[in-house]
Amino acid sequence: MIRISTIDIVRTSLGGTGKLLPVAILITCAFAAFWLFPYDLGFLTQMLIMMVFVVSFDLILGYAGVATLGHAAMYGCGAYAAGLFAIHASPDPLLGLAVGAVIGALIAFFSGLLLMRAHGLSLLMLSIAITMVLQEIASKARDVTGGADGLTGISMTPILGVFEFDFIGKTAFWYAFSVLFIILVVLRVLVASPFGLALRGIKDSPSRMRAIGTPVYWRKVTAYVIGGTIAGIAGALSAQITSLVSVEAFNFALSADVMVMLILGGAGRLYGALIGTLVFMTVRHVAASIDPFNWLFVIGFMLLAVVFFLPDGLISLPRRVAGMIGARK
Protein backbone atom coordinates (compact mmCIF):
# COMPACT_ATOMS: atom_id res chain seq x y z
CA MET A 1 0.00 0.00 0.00
CA ILE A 2 1.37 3.33 -0.98
CA ARG A 3 1.24 5.89 1.75
CA ILE A 4 -0.22 9.19 0.80
CA SER A 5 1.91 12.14 1.65
CA THR A 6 0.44 14.09 4.52
CA ILE A 7 1.38 17.24 2.78
CA ASP A 8 -0.84 16.25 -0.11
CA ILE A 9 -3.68 15.66 2.28
CA VAL A 10 -3.09 19.01 3.87
CA ARG A 11 -2.89 20.66 0.50
CA THR A 12 -6.14 19.19 -0.78
CA SER A 13 -7.89 19.99 2.43
CA LEU A 14 -6.65 23.54 2.34
CA GLY A 15 -7.53 24.12 -1.27
CA GLY A 16 -11.05 25.26 -2.18
CA THR A 17 -13.99 23.84 -0.29
CA GLY A 18 -11.83 21.26 1.43
CA LYS A 19 -10.26 24.07 3.38
CA LEU A 20 -13.31 24.47 5.57
CA LEU A 21 -14.24 20.84 5.95
CA PRO A 22 -12.14 19.93 9.02
CA VAL A 23 -13.12 23.20 10.62
CA ALA A 24 -16.77 22.45 10.00
CA ILE A 25 -16.41 18.91 11.34
CA LEU A 26 -14.69 20.18 14.45
CA ILE A 27 -17.35 22.76 15.20
CA THR A 28 -20.12 20.27 14.45
CA CYS A 29 -18.56 17.76 16.83
CA ALA A 30 -18.33 20.38 19.56
CA PHE A 31 -22.00 21.32 19.18
CA ALA A 32 -23.04 17.69 18.96
CA ALA A 33 -21.11 16.86 22.12
CA PHE A 34 -22.58 19.88 23.86
CA TRP A 35 -26.16 18.89 23.00
CA LEU A 36 -25.85 15.15 23.33
CA PHE A 37 -23.98 15.04 26.61
CA PRO A 38 -25.14 18.08 28.55
CA TYR A 39 -24.37 16.34 31.83
CA ASP A 40 -20.81 15.47 30.94
CA LEU A 41 -19.56 18.96 30.23
CA GLY A 42 -17.03 18.68 33.04
CA PHE A 43 -15.54 15.56 31.54
CA LEU A 44 -15.73 16.93 27.99
CA THR A 45 -13.93 20.08 29.11
CA GLN A 46 -11.19 18.00 30.68
CA MET A 47 -10.89 16.20 27.37
CA LEU A 48 -10.62 19.47 25.45
CA ILE A 49 -7.84 20.64 27.76
CA MET A 50 -6.08 17.34 27.29
CA MET A 51 -6.44 17.75 23.51
CA VAL A 52 -4.67 21.10 23.70
CA PHE A 53 -1.94 19.39 25.69
CA VAL A 54 -1.60 16.39 23.36
CA VAL A 55 -1.60 18.58 20.26
CA SER A 56 1.27 20.57 21.76
CA PHE A 57 3.18 17.34 22.20
CA ASP A 58 2.37 16.35 18.62
CA LEU A 59 4.37 19.31 17.37
CA ILE A 60 7.38 18.05 19.30
CA LEU A 61 7.09 14.29 18.89
CA GLY A 62 4.93 13.94 15.80
CA TYR A 63 6.45 16.67 13.68
CA ALA A 64 9.97 17.26 14.97
CA GLY A 65 10.43 13.65 16.07
CA VAL A 66 11.73 14.57 19.52
CA ALA A 67 10.57 11.94 22.04
CA THR A 68 10.40 13.23 25.60
CA LEU A 69 8.68 11.91 28.70
CA GLY A 70 8.48 15.18 30.55
CA HIS A 71 5.91 17.22 28.76
CA ALA A 72 4.07 17.71 32.04
CA ALA A 73 6.87 20.11 33.06
CA MET A 74 5.40 22.88 30.94
CA TYR A 75 1.81 21.91 31.72
CA GLY A 76 2.45 22.05 35.45
CA CYS A 77 4.36 25.32 35.32
CA GLY A 78 1.63 26.86 33.18
CA ALA A 79 -0.97 25.69 35.67
CA TYR A 80 0.84 27.07 38.72
CA ALA A 81 1.69 30.30 36.93
CA ALA A 82 -1.93 30.89 35.92
CA GLY A 83 -3.16 29.92 39.37
CA LEU A 84 -0.75 32.19 41.22
CA PHE A 85 -1.40 35.00 38.78
CA ALA A 86 -5.14 34.71 39.39
CA ILE A 87 -4.67 34.78 43.14
CA HIS A 88 -2.06 37.49 43.45
CA ALA A 89 -2.34 39.66 40.35
CA SER A 90 -5.46 39.54 38.25
CA PRO A 91 -8.38 37.14 38.00
CA ASP A 92 -8.81 37.81 34.29
CA PRO A 93 -8.83 34.47 32.45
CA LEU A 94 -7.24 35.60 29.20
CA LEU A 95 -4.40 37.38 30.98
CA GLY A 96 -3.94 34.19 32.99
CA LEU A 97 -3.68 32.14 29.81
CA ALA A 98 -1.06 34.51 28.52
CA VAL A 99 0.92 34.15 31.73
CA GLY A 100 0.67 30.35 31.51
CA ALA A 101 1.86 30.52 27.91
CA VAL A 102 4.85 32.72 28.75
CA ILE A 103 5.93 30.54 31.65
CA GLY A 104 5.46 27.40 29.54
CA ALA A 105 7.64 28.98 26.88
CA LEU A 106 10.34 30.01 29.34
CA ILE A 107 10.53 26.58 30.94
CA ALA A 108 10.63 24.98 27.51
CA PHE A 109 13.36 27.34 26.38
CA PHE A 110 15.68 26.78 29.32
CA SER A 111 15.09 23.04 29.54
CA GLY A 112 15.13 22.82 25.73
CA LEU A 113 18.65 24.24 25.60
CA LEU A 114 19.74 21.12 27.45
CA LEU A 115 17.22 18.59 26.15
CA MET A 116 17.52 19.30 22.44
CA ARG A 117 21.17 18.28 22.52
CA ALA A 118 20.25 14.85 23.86
CA HIS A 119 18.90 11.84 22.04
CA GLY A 120 17.10 8.60 22.65
CA LEU A 121 16.99 7.17 26.13
CA SER A 122 19.14 9.94 27.51
CA LEU A 123 16.61 12.50 26.28
CA LEU A 124 13.72 10.58 27.82
CA MET A 125 15.53 10.40 31.15
CA LEU A 126 16.59 14.04 31.15
CA SER A 127 13.06 15.18 30.47
CA ILE A 128 11.76 12.94 33.25
CA ALA A 129 14.39 14.26 35.66
CA ILE A 130 13.59 17.91 34.90
CA THR A 131 9.90 17.28 35.55
CA MET A 132 10.72 15.48 38.79
CA VAL A 133 12.79 18.42 39.99
CA LEU A 134 9.98 20.84 39.19
CA GLN A 135 7.43 18.63 40.93
CA GLU A 136 9.59 18.40 44.00
CA ILE A 137 10.03 22.16 44.07
CA ALA A 138 6.27 22.68 43.77
CA SER A 139 5.72 20.17 46.51
CA LYS A 140 8.26 21.77 48.85
CA ALA A 141 7.30 25.40 48.27
CA ARG A 142 4.21 24.89 50.40
CA ASP A 143 3.82 28.54 51.32
CA VAL A 144 3.50 29.48 47.69
CA THR A 145 1.91 26.46 46.06
CA GLY A 146 -0.02 24.80 48.87
CA GLY A 147 2.15 21.71 48.44
CA ALA A 148 0.40 18.37 48.26
CA ASP A 149 -2.92 19.91 49.29
CA GLY A 150 -2.99 21.91 46.11
CA LEU A 151 -3.12 25.59 45.27
CA THR A 152 -6.55 26.87 46.29
CA GLY A 153 -8.33 30.18 46.14
CA ILE A 154 -8.30 30.59 42.36
CA SER A 155 -11.39 32.38 41.15
CA MET A 156 -11.89 33.87 37.73
CA THR A 157 -13.72 36.93 36.51
CA PRO A 158 -15.96 36.52 33.44
CA ILE A 159 -14.14 35.95 30.15
CA LEU A 160 -13.86 39.27 28.29
CA GLY A 161 -15.95 40.63 31.12
CA VAL A 162 -19.04 38.93 29.66
CA PHE A 163 -19.06 35.16 29.99
CA GLU A 164 -19.18 34.12 33.59
CA PHE A 165 -17.96 30.65 34.58
CA ASP A 166 -21.20 28.88 35.35
CA PHE A 167 -22.07 25.96 37.55
CA ILE A 168 -22.80 23.46 34.79
CA GLY A 169 -19.57 24.28 33.02
CA LYS A 170 -21.03 25.62 29.77
CA THR A 171 -18.70 28.59 29.72
CA ALA A 172 -15.76 26.42 30.62
CA PHE A 173 -16.61 24.06 27.77
CA TRP A 174 -16.82 26.77 25.13
CA TYR A 175 -13.80 28.54 26.59
CA ALA A 176 -11.69 25.40 26.35
CA PHE A 177 -13.07 24.65 22.91
CA SER A 178 -12.27 28.15 21.64
CA VAL A 179 -8.72 27.89 22.90
CA LEU A 180 -8.32 24.47 21.29
CA PHE A 181 -9.79 25.76 18.06
CA ILE A 182 -7.50 28.77 17.87
CA ILE A 183 -4.48 26.64 18.68
CA LEU A 184 -5.42 24.13 15.99
CA VAL A 185 -5.74 26.90 13.42
CA VAL A 186 -2.37 28.31 14.44
CA LEU A 187 -0.76 24.89 14.35
CA ARG A 188 -2.25 24.10 10.94
CA VAL A 189 -0.66 27.24 9.57
CA LEU A 190 2.55 26.39 11.35
CA VAL A 191 2.88 22.84 10.08
CA ALA A 192 2.21 23.96 6.52
CA SER A 193 4.87 26.67 6.77
CA PRO A 194 8.49 26.33 5.72
CA PHE A 195 9.26 25.92 9.41
CA GLY A 196 6.80 23.01 9.64
CA LEU A 197 8.40 21.36 6.62
CA ALA A 198 11.81 21.82 8.19
CA LEU A 199 10.58 20.12 11.37
CA ARG A 200 9.42 17.12 9.39
CA GLY A 201 12.77 17.13 7.65
CA ILE A 202 14.50 17.06 11.04
CA LYS A 203 12.35 14.13 12.10
CA ASP A 204 13.17 12.22 8.93
CA SER A 205 16.89 12.89 8.85
CA PRO A 206 18.64 15.32 11.17
CA SER A 207 21.99 14.57 9.53
CA ARG A 208 20.64 15.55 6.13
CA MET A 209 19.15 18.69 7.57
CA ARG A 210 22.57 19.65 8.86
CA ALA A 211 24.00 18.85 5.46
CA ILE A 212 21.64 21.30 3.80
CA GLY A 213 22.69 23.98 6.22
CA THR A 214 19.92 23.95 8.83
CA PRO A 215 20.84 24.81 12.41
CA VAL A 216 18.98 21.70 13.56
CA TYR A 217 19.48 22.34 17.27
CA TRP A 218 17.93 25.80 17.19
CA ARG A 219 15.02 24.64 15.05
CA LYS A 220 14.32 21.96 17.64
CA VAL A 221 14.61 24.42 20.50
CA THR A 222 12.15 26.67 18.68
CA ALA A 223 9.70 23.82 18.19
CA TYR A 224 10.07 22.86 21.84
CA VAL A 225 9.35 26.41 22.93
CA ILE A 226 6.22 26.55 20.76
CA GLY A 227 5.08 23.18 22.11
CA GLY A 228 5.88 24.35 25.63
CA THR A 229 3.88 27.53 25.14
CA ILE A 230 0.82 25.54 24.16
CA ALA A 231 1.36 23.05 26.98
CA GLY A 232 1.55 26.01 29.35
CA ILE A 233 -1.78 27.23 27.98
CA ALA A 234 -3.28 23.78 28.57
CA GLY A 235 -2.05 23.86 32.16
CA ALA A 236 -3.42 27.36 32.65
CA LEU A 237 -6.81 26.27 31.31
CA SER A 238 -6.93 23.40 33.76
CA ALA A 239 -5.99 25.68 36.66
CA GLN A 240 -8.66 28.21 35.74
CA ILE A 241 -11.41 25.69 35.12
CA THR A 242 -10.76 23.44 38.12
CA SER A 243 -9.83 26.41 40.32
CA LEU A 244 -7.17 24.24 41.88
CA VAL A 245 -3.66 23.14 40.96
CA SER A 246 -2.08 20.08 42.51
CA VAL A 247 1.42 18.67 42.26
CA GLU A 248 -0.10 15.87 40.19
CA ALA A 249 0.12 18.32 37.29
CA PHE A 250 3.79 17.32 37.05
CA ASN A 251 3.12 13.61 37.27
CA PHE A 252 5.20 11.20 35.23
CA ALA A 253 1.97 9.35 34.48
CA LEU A 254 0.59 12.47 32.83
CA SER A 255 3.57 12.75 30.49
CA ALA A 256 3.29 9.05 29.71
CA ASP A 257 -0.46 9.28 29.08
CA VAL A 258 0.09 12.12 26.67
CA MET A 259 2.60 10.08 24.71
CA VAL A 260 0.28 7.06 24.66
CA MET A 261 -2.69 9.14 23.50
CA LEU A 262 -0.67 10.70 20.72
CA ILE A 263 0.79 7.48 19.35
CA LEU A 264 -2.60 5.85 19.72
CA GLY A 265 -4.23 8.48 17.56
CA GLY A 266 -1.37 8.86 15.12
CA ALA A 267 1.67 11.04 15.73
CA GLY A 268 2.48 13.64 13.11
CA ARG A 269 -1.11 14.47 12.36
CA LEU A 270 -2.94 17.13 14.30
CA TYR A 271 -6.22 15.27 14.04
CA GLY A 272 -4.50 12.08 15.15
CA ALA A 273 -3.75 13.83 18.44
CA LEU A 274 -7.42 14.76 18.82
CA ILE A 275 -8.69 11.29 17.98
CA GLY A 276 -6.17 9.58 20.25
CA THR A 277 -7.19 11.79 23.18
CA LEU A 278 -10.88 11.30 22.46
CA VAL A 279 -10.65 7.52 22.26
CA PHE A 280 -8.23 7.01 25.15
CA MET A 281 -10.10 9.25 27.57
CA THR A 282 -13.51 7.96 26.57
CA VAL A 283 -12.52 4.33 26.83
CA ARG A 284 -10.83 4.95 30.16
CA HIS A 285 -13.81 6.89 31.49
CA VAL A 286 -16.38 4.35 30.35
CA ALA A 287 -14.34 1.26 31.19
CA ALA A 288 -13.41 2.63 34.60
CA SER A 289 -17.00 3.43 35.45
CA ILE A 290 -18.29 0.05 34.28
CA ASP A 291 -15.59 -2.03 35.93
CA PRO A 292 -13.04 0.02 37.83
CA PHE A 293 -11.15 -3.05 38.93
CA ASN A 294 -10.52 -4.51 35.51
CA TRP A 295 -10.60 -1.54 33.16
CA LEU A 296 -6.85 -1.77 32.57
CA PHE A 297 -7.46 -4.95 30.56
CA VAL A 298 -9.52 -2.93 28.11
CA ILE A 299 -6.91 -0.19 27.77
CA GLY A 300 -4.05 -2.68 27.51
CA PHE A 301 -5.65 -4.75 24.80
CA MET A 302 -6.74 -1.64 22.95
CA LEU A 303 -3.15 -0.35 22.82
CA LEU A 304 -1.90 -3.72 21.62
CA ALA A 305 -4.61 -3.97 18.98
CA VAL A 306 -3.80 -0.52 17.65
CA VAL A 307 -0.08 -1.02 17.53
CA PHE A 308 -0.43 -4.39 15.82
CA PHE A 309 -3.19 -3.62 13.37
CA LEU A 310 -3.04 0.13 12.90
CA PRO A 311 0.63 1.07 13.20
CA ASP A 312 -0.08 4.59 11.97
CA GLY A 313 -2.57 5.14 14.75
CA LEU A 314 -6.33 5.32 14.84
CA ILE A 315 -6.37 8.11 12.30
CA SER A 316 -5.31 5.61 9.64
CA LEU A 317 -8.35 3.44 10.33
CA PRO A 318 -10.59 4.86 7.57
CA ARG A 319 -7.80 4.50 5.02
CA ARG A 320 -7.08 0.97 6.21
CA VAL A 321 -10.70 -0.01 5.90
CA ALA A 322 -10.91 1.59 2.47
CA GLY A 323 -7.76 -0.28 1.49
CA MET A 324 -9.20 -3.58 2.63
CA ILE A 325 -12.44 -3.03 0.74
CA GLY A 326 -10.45 -1.98 -2.29
CA ALA A 327 -8.29 -5.08 -2.07
CA ARG A 328 -11.29 -7.35 -1.93
CA LYS A 329 -12.76 -6.08 -5.19
Binding site: L121, I128, M259, W295, G300, L303, V306, F308
Partner: protein
Protein backbone atom coordinates in the same frame (compact mmCIF):
# COMPACT_ATOMS: atom_id res chain seq x y z
CA UNK B 1 34.45 9.53 58.67
CA UNK B 2 31.85 7.13 60.01
CA UNK B 3 29.28 9.07 58.03
CA UNK B 4 31.25 8.62 54.82
CA UNK B 5 31.67 4.94 55.56
CA UNK B 6 27.98 4.59 56.32
CA UNK B 7 27.09 6.32 53.09
CA UNK B 8 29.29 3.99 51.10
CA UNK B 9 28.07 0.82 52.77
CA UNK B 10 24.40 1.76 52.71
CA UNK B 11 24.81 3.13 49.21
CA UNK B 12 26.37 -0.05 47.90
CA UNK B 13 23.71 -2.16 49.57
CA UNK B 14 20.98 -0.02 48.05
CA UNK B 15 22.75 0.18 44.71
CA UNK B 16 22.95 -3.59 44.58
CA UNK B 17 19.18 -3.73 44.92
CA UNK B 18 18.85 -1.16 42.16
CA UNK B 19 21.08 -3.36 40.03
CA UNK B 20 18.97 -6.42 40.81
CA UNK B 21 15.70 -4.83 39.85
CA UNK B 22 17.01 -3.32 36.63
CA UNK B 23 19.47 -5.91 35.34
CA UNK B 24 16.73 -7.64 33.37
CA UNK B 25 16.06 -4.37 31.62
CA UNK B 26 19.76 -4.02 30.80
CA UNK B 27 19.38 -7.25 28.89
CA UNK B 28 16.14 -6.56 27.03
CA UNK B 29 16.58 -2.84 26.50
CA UNK B 30 20.35 -2.50 26.71
CA UNK B 31 21.44 -5.54 24.75
CA UNK B 32 18.38 -6.37 22.65
CA UNK B 33 17.43 -2.75 22.02
CA UNK B 34 13.71 -3.05 22.71
CA UNK B 35 12.08 -0.21 24.59
CA UNK B 36 10.73 -2.71 27.07
CA UNK B 37 8.49 -0.80 29.42
CA UNK B 38 6.99 -4.16 30.42
CA UNK B 39 10.18 -5.03 32.31
CA UNK B 40 8.58 -4.25 35.67
CA UNK B 41 5.71 -6.48 34.62
CA UNK B 42 7.92 -9.56 34.64
CA UNK B 43 9.28 -8.56 38.03
CA UNK B 44 5.70 -8.20 39.20
CA UNK B 45 4.72 -11.62 37.88
CA UNK B 46 7.73 -13.17 39.58
CA UNK B 47 7.00 -11.41 42.85
CA UNK B 48 3.31 -12.28 42.73
CA UNK B 49 4.16 -15.90 42.07
CA UNK B 50 6.62 -15.98 44.96
CA UNK B 51 3.98 -14.35 47.16
CA UNK B 52 1.43 -17.05 46.36
CA UNK B 53 3.93 -19.85 46.81
CA UNK B 54 5.36 -18.66 50.12
CA UNK B 55 2.24 -17.23 51.72
CA UNK B 56 -0.53 -19.50 50.45
CA UNK B 57 1.31 -22.76 50.06
CA UNK B 58 3.96 -22.20 52.67
CA UNK B 59 6.80 -23.08 50.33
CA UNK B 60 10.25 -22.17 51.67
CA UNK B 61 11.84 -19.11 50.14
CA UNK B 62 14.62 -20.55 48.00
CA UNK B 63 12.53 -23.17 46.17
CA UNK B 64 9.79 -20.57 45.76
CA UNK B 65 12.29 -18.19 44.21
CA UNK B 66 13.44 -20.85 41.77
CA UNK B 67 9.89 -21.92 40.94
CA UNK B 68 8.79 -18.32 40.38
CA UNK B 69 11.67 -17.55 38.07
CA UNK B 70 10.96 -20.69 36.07
CA UNK B 71 7.27 -19.77 35.96
CA UNK B 72 8.07 -16.32 34.59
CA UNK B 73 10.35 -17.82 31.95
CA UNK B 74 7.59 -20.25 31.02
CA UNK B 75 5.24 -17.29 30.58
CA UNK B 76 7.87 -15.28 28.71
CA UNK B 77 8.56 -17.90 26.06
CA UNK B 78 5.13 -18.03 24.43
CA UNK B 79 4.82 -14.29 24.91
CA UNK B 80 8.01 -13.83 22.93
CA UNK B 81 6.89 -16.23 20.23
CA UNK B 82 3.49 -14.65 19.84
CA UNK B 83 3.97 -10.99 20.63
CA UNK B 84 7.50 -9.74 21.22
CA UNK B 85 8.82 -11.31 18.03
CA UNK B 86 6.81 -8.71 16.14
CA UNK B 87 7.68 -5.92 18.52
CA UNK B 88 11.41 -6.17 17.68
CA UNK B 89 10.68 -4.76 14.24
CA UNK B 90 8.54 -1.89 15.48
CA UNK B 91 9.74 1.67 15.68
CA UNK B 92 10.65 2.88 19.15
CA UNK B 93 7.36 4.67 19.62
CA UNK B 94 5.37 1.63 18.63
CA UNK B 95 7.44 -0.37 21.09
CA UNK B 96 6.46 2.10 23.80
CA UNK B 97 2.79 1.65 23.01
CA UNK B 98 2.97 -2.12 22.70
CA UNK B 99 4.94 -2.74 25.88
CA UNK B 100 2.77 -0.29 27.84
CA UNK B 101 -0.21 -2.29 26.59
CA UNK B 102 1.42 -5.51 27.80
CA UNK B 103 2.23 -4.04 31.19
CA UNK B 104 -1.35 -2.84 31.62
CA UNK B 105 -2.61 -6.35 30.93
CA UNK B 106 -0.11 -7.80 33.41
CA UNK B 107 -1.15 -5.32 36.10
CA UNK B 108 -4.81 -6.02 35.46
CA UNK B 109 -4.19 -9.75 35.70
CA UNK B 110 -2.42 -9.53 39.05
CA UNK B 111 -5.04 -7.07 40.26
CA UNK B 112 -7.79 -9.47 39.25
CA UNK B 113 -6.41 -12.45 41.10
CA UNK B 114 -4.56 -10.92 44.02
CA UNK B 115 -5.97 -7.42 44.40
CA UNK B 116 -4.00 -4.22 44.71
CA UNK B 117 -2.59 -4.61 48.23
CA UNK B 118 1.02 -5.33 49.10
CA UNK B 119 2.04 -8.87 48.19
CA UNK B 120 4.64 -9.89 50.69
CA UNK B 121 7.07 -12.70 50.13
CA UNK B 122 7.87 -14.66 53.24
CA UNK B 123 11.55 -15.07 53.85
CA UNK B 124 13.28 -17.09 56.52
CA UNK B 125 13.24 -14.88 59.65
CA UNK B 126 17.02 -15.18 59.96
CA UNK B 127 17.60 -12.94 56.92
CA UNK B 128 16.03 -10.01 58.74
CA UNK B 129 18.49 -10.21 61.60
CA UNK B 130 20.76 -7.24 62.01
CA UNK B 131 24.41 -8.12 61.51
CA UNK B 132 26.94 -6.00 63.33
CA UNK B 133 29.88 -5.21 61.09
CA UNK B 134 31.67 -3.39 63.88
CA UNK B 135 31.25 0.08 62.47
CA UNK B 136 27.74 -0.48 61.24
CA UNK B 137 24.69 -2.69 61.60
CA UNK B 138 23.41 -4.17 58.35
CA UNK B 139 20.49 -6.57 57.87
CA UNK B 140 21.63 -10.00 56.75
CA UNK B 141 19.59 -9.95 53.57
CA UNK B 142 21.45 -6.88 52.38
CA UNK B 143 24.64 -8.83 52.65
CA UNK B 144 23.03 -11.69 50.76
CA UNK B 145 21.85 -9.28 48.06
CA UNK B 146 25.36 -7.84 47.75
CA UNK B 147 26.80 -11.32 47.26
CA UNK B 148 24.12 -12.39 44.80
CA UNK B 149 24.51 -9.13 42.90
CA UNK B 150 28.24 -9.65 42.54
CA UNK B 151 27.70 -13.21 41.34
CA UNK B 152 25.09 -12.02 38.90
CA UNK B 153 27.18 -9.31 37.31
CA UNK B 154 30.15 -11.64 37.00
CA UNK B 155 28.03 -14.37 35.48
CA UNK B 156 26.36 -12.03 33.02
CA UNK B 157 29.63 -10.44 32.06
CA UNK B 158 31.08 -13.84 31.27
CA UNK B 159 27.92 -14.90 29.47
CA UNK B 160 27.77 -11.86 27.23
CA UNK B 161 31.47 -11.34 26.64
CA UNK B 162 32.89 -14.81 26.73
CA UNK B 163 30.36 -17.35 25.54
CA UNK B 164 29.17 -18.18 22.06
CA UNK B 165 25.68 -17.15 23.07
CA UNK B 166 26.95 -13.67 23.93
CA UNK B 167 28.73 -13.30 20.64
CA UNK B 168 25.68 -14.55 18.75
CA UNK B 169 23.45 -12.15 20.62
CA UNK B 170 25.62 -9.13 19.98
CA UNK B 171 25.97 -10.12 16.34
CA UNK B 172 22.23 -10.61 15.99
CA UNK B 173 21.43 -7.23 17.53
CA UNK B 174 24.09 -5.55 15.43
CA UNK B 175 22.90 -6.88 12.14
CA UNK B 176 20.27 -9.53 11.95
CA UNK B 177 20.85 -10.36 8.29
CA UNK B 178 24.59 -10.73 8.57
CA UNK B 179 24.15 -12.86 11.67
CA UNK B 180 21.67 -15.05 9.87
CA UNK B 181 24.00 -15.40 6.91
CA UNK B 182 26.69 -16.59 9.29
CA UNK B 183 24.37 -19.41 10.25
CA UNK B 184 23.24 -17.96 13.57
CA UNK B 185 19.70 -18.91 14.41
CA UNK B 186 18.72 -15.37 15.35
CA UNK B 187 15.11 -16.11 16.41
CA UNK B 188 16.40 -18.65 18.89
CA UNK B 189 19.08 -16.30 20.18
CA UNK B 190 16.48 -13.60 20.67
CA UNK B 191 14.17 -16.00 22.41
CA UNK B 192 16.92 -17.09 24.78
CA UNK B 193 17.96 -13.51 25.50
CA UNK B 194 14.39 -12.45 26.11
CA UNK B 195 13.76 -15.36 28.45
CA UNK B 196 16.97 -14.42 30.26
CA UNK B 197 15.80 -10.82 30.61
CA UNK B 198 12.42 -11.90 31.94
CA UNK B 199 13.98 -14.38 34.36
CA UNK B 200 16.38 -11.75 35.68
CA UNK B 201 13.48 -9.34 36.08
CA UNK B 202 11.74 -11.94 38.22
CA UNK B 203 14.84 -12.52 40.35
CA UNK B 204 15.20 -8.77 40.82
CA UNK B 205 11.54 -8.33 41.69
CA UNK B 206 11.70 -11.01 44.35
CA UNK B 207 15.06 -10.13 45.90
CA UNK B 208 14.37 -6.41 45.69
CA UNK B 209 10.96 -6.77 47.31
CA UNK B 210 12.53 -6.00 50.67
CA UNK B 211 12.75 -2.37 49.62
CA UNK B 212 10.38 -2.14 46.69
CA UNK B 213 7.47 -4.26 47.85
CA UNK B 214 5.49 -6.07 45.18
CA UNK B 215 1.98 -4.85 44.43
CA UNK B 216 -0.09 -4.74 41.27
CA UNK B 217 1.12 -1.29 40.20
CA UNK B 218 4.78 -2.08 40.84
CA UNK B 219 5.77 -1.80 37.14
CA UNK B 220 4.44 1.75 36.84
CA UNK B 221 5.49 2.91 40.29
CA UNK B 222 9.15 2.10 39.74
CA UNK B 223 9.41 2.57 35.96
CA UNK B 224 11.40 5.77 36.35
CA UNK B 225 13.84 4.02 38.66
CA UNK B 226 14.50 1.18 36.20
CA UNK B 227 14.94 3.60 33.32
CA UNK B 228 17.32 5.73 35.38
CA UNK B 229 19.68 2.86 36.08
CA UNK B 230 19.78 1.66 32.49
CA UNK B 231 20.17 5.15 31.05
CA UNK B 232 22.94 6.15 33.39
CA UNK B 233 24.64 2.82 32.80
CA UNK B 234 24.47 3.17 29.08
CA UNK B 235 22.75 0.96 26.56
CA UNK B 236 24.22 -2.41 25.92
CA UNK B 237 26.50 -2.56 28.91
CA UNK B 238 25.84 -4.89 31.82
CA UNK B 239 28.92 -3.63 33.63
CA UNK B 240 27.79 -0.08 32.93
CA UNK B 241 24.43 -0.80 34.55
CA UNK B 242 26.19 -2.32 37.51
CA UNK B 243 28.42 0.69 38.04
CA UNK B 244 25.47 3.02 37.44
CA UNK B 245 23.35 1.19 39.99
CA UNK B 246 26.07 1.39 42.63
CA UNK B 247 26.80 5.05 41.87
CA UNK B 248 23.13 5.96 41.99
CA UNK B 249 22.74 4.03 45.21
CA UNK B 250 25.61 5.91 46.80
CA UNK B 251 24.45 9.21 45.32
CA UNK B 252 20.91 8.77 46.59
CA UNK B 253 22.10 7.61 49.99
CA UNK B 254 24.51 10.52 50.26
CA UNK B 255 21.67 12.89 49.40
CA UNK B 256 19.51 11.37 52.11
CA UNK B 257 22.29 11.56 54.68
CA UNK B 258 23.64 14.98 53.94
CA UNK B 259 20.81 16.94 52.35
CA UNK B 260 17.68 15.13 53.46
CA UNK B 261 15.44 18.12 52.81
CA UNK B 262 16.33 18.40 49.17
CA UNK B 263 17.38 14.79 48.61
CA UNK B 264 15.12 14.17 45.64
CA UNK B 265 16.03 17.42 43.93
CA UNK B 266 19.70 16.71 44.52
CA UNK B 267 19.36 13.20 43.10
CA UNK B 268 17.66 14.29 39.88
CA UNK B 269 19.88 17.32 39.39
CA UNK B 270 22.86 15.01 39.67
CA UNK B 271 21.33 12.76 37.02
CA UNK B 272 20.71 15.75 34.77
CA UNK B 273 24.31 16.87 35.15
CA UNK B 274 25.58 13.37 34.54
CA UNK B 275 23.54 12.82 31.41
CA UNK B 276 24.39 16.26 30.10
CA UNK B 277 28.06 15.39 30.37
CA UNK B 278 27.82 11.74 29.37
CA UNK B 279 24.72 11.39 27.23
CA UNK B 280 25.43 7.80 26.35
CA UNK B 281 25.91 6.62 29.90
CA UNK B 282 28.77 6.21 32.28
CA UNK B 283 30.86 3.77 30.33
CA UNK B 284 30.16 4.84 26.78
CA UNK B 285 32.15 7.71 25.42
CA UNK B 286 30.24 10.52 23.76
CA UNK B 287 30.46 9.91 20.02
Amino acid sequence: MTVALSIVVDGIAYGMILFMISVGLSVTMGLMRIVNLAHGGFALLGGACAHVLTMRYGMPFVPALAASVIAVIVIAIPLERLVYRHIYRFSELEQVLATIGIVFVMIATVNLFLGSTLLTIRMPPEVSLPVNLGFKVLPLHRIIVIVVGLLMVTGLYLLVERTRFGIYLRAAVDNQNTAASLGIDTPKVYLAAFALGAGLAAVGGILGAELLPIEAYYPLRYMVLFLTVVTVGGMGSIVGSFIAALSLGILDTAGRYLLPDVGTIFFFLAIIALLALRPNGLLVRPS
